[in-house]
Subunit: 196 residues, 2 copies
DNA sequence: AGCTATACTTACCTATGAGTAAGTAAAAGA
DNA sequence: TCTTTTACTTACTCATAGGTAAGTATAGCT
């Protein structure tokens, strides 16, 4: 009706991201988006000419969301342990509520066939999250609220991959693997408060 | 040219499994298999009428391979730490050499659209591996060669998901995440030998 | 009022996917 | 030797996928 106010583009991104995190990039079509929104297939092509454009938009949308959150947490001077908790709870919420799998996991199988731009965006995002996690772990260990052995980079890799992996197999198990994994990571990382 | 000795079926499985672990189930077609083997498309359909039949065969092939290895290791009375090492090295070999991702990761995005038989096969395989890992960890801790806090089931979940996740993001990183993750897991788990 | 840009729709095209039916050559069995 | 079975091939069908071209209604600008 009034093209100017309808936020079709945002709705497309929202829907596409849900489809991506449930079925992977090869697992949904433009039709799955258009029928859901009650529009025509070509309308999706209007906003995102090729599927590669759409994929790139999804990754960039996701990346800016994550980067915004990281920046916000750091600017608020949130303690390392709390920052970790935000990460844990976001992961658990996405996974257990909606059964969404992690963006990296969703795109892993498609990776080698993605455009250069998209591959670069993924690499950049992953290294950014990894950087933040490693720094947070290191800060937490220095201030005595977190404990772990070895290199913060390596520990960050274990934590990130475990959560990602857990989000993927969650659907294949009767119990909530994501919750189990996060609880185990907490038990290993958190220094008990004085009396315990 | 003698149909009886040509092991086309096995070659199909081999090729399909490689494609599955590189591109996911939606990421390859019968054509990718047939052209690689120099046969016609319908020949693949002869052995595996539907893609679901093929997928099921791949999962079952993979499962019997794993189950055979587990049984062998246990019957040989291999110590827990050595059993773990076999698991680590197999994972690292697959991931770093051929850049194959884990079967669970490869099928995660397709999971909800898989046949019941295939879903059941995946659940069964996952719980089998998990059972073995948890038992091995527990035995290792009891005998003093492995150390970790918390429930063996939970620790098994962390280890399995971390390796799986690492195998998926390995292609998105310049360094060998699988190696980093496995080394970190070793450092956390292995009890140093007496003099150190 | 008239023009332009935006946000679509209708109506296509082409490639590719899974899948099938009918035919064929060779080996195995009776 | 004749028949059946195995392991294919040729030659298709049909659905869906991504993508495009041309048309249309509305909003905003001049």
């Amino acid at each position: 009706m009034s093209p100017r106010q309808s936020n079709t583009r945002e709705k497309i991104v929202e829907r596409a991201r849900s489809l991506l995190q449930h079925h992977g990039l090869d697992g949904f079509s433009y039709r799955d988006i258009s029928t859901h929104l009650g529009i025509r297939n070509a309308a999706v092509h209007y906003h995102f000419p090729s599927k590669d454009d759409l994929g790139l938009a999804l990754v960039e949308d996701f990346a800016s969301e994550i980067e915004r959150d990281i920046e916000h947490a750091q600017r608020a001077g949130m303690p390392p342990k709390d920052q970790l908790e935000v990460y844990f709870q976001r992961s658990h919420g996405d996974a257990s509520g909606d059964h969404r799998i992690c963006m990296f996991g969703a795109l892993a199988t498609s990776y080698s066939r993605l455009s250069d731009a998209m591959q670069r965006a993924m690499v950049r995002l992953r290294s950014g999250v990894h950087r933040w996690l490693a720094d947070t772990l290191e800060a937490g260990r220095r201030s005595g609220t977190l404990r772990f052995v070895g290199d913060p980079e390596a520990k960050a890799a274990v934590i990130a991959t475990a959560i990602q992996g857990a989000r993927q197999v969650n659907r294949m198990s009767p119990d909530d693997i994501v919750a189990v994994v996060i609880d185990q990571l907490r038990e290993e990382l958190y220094v008990p408060t004085s009396k315990e």
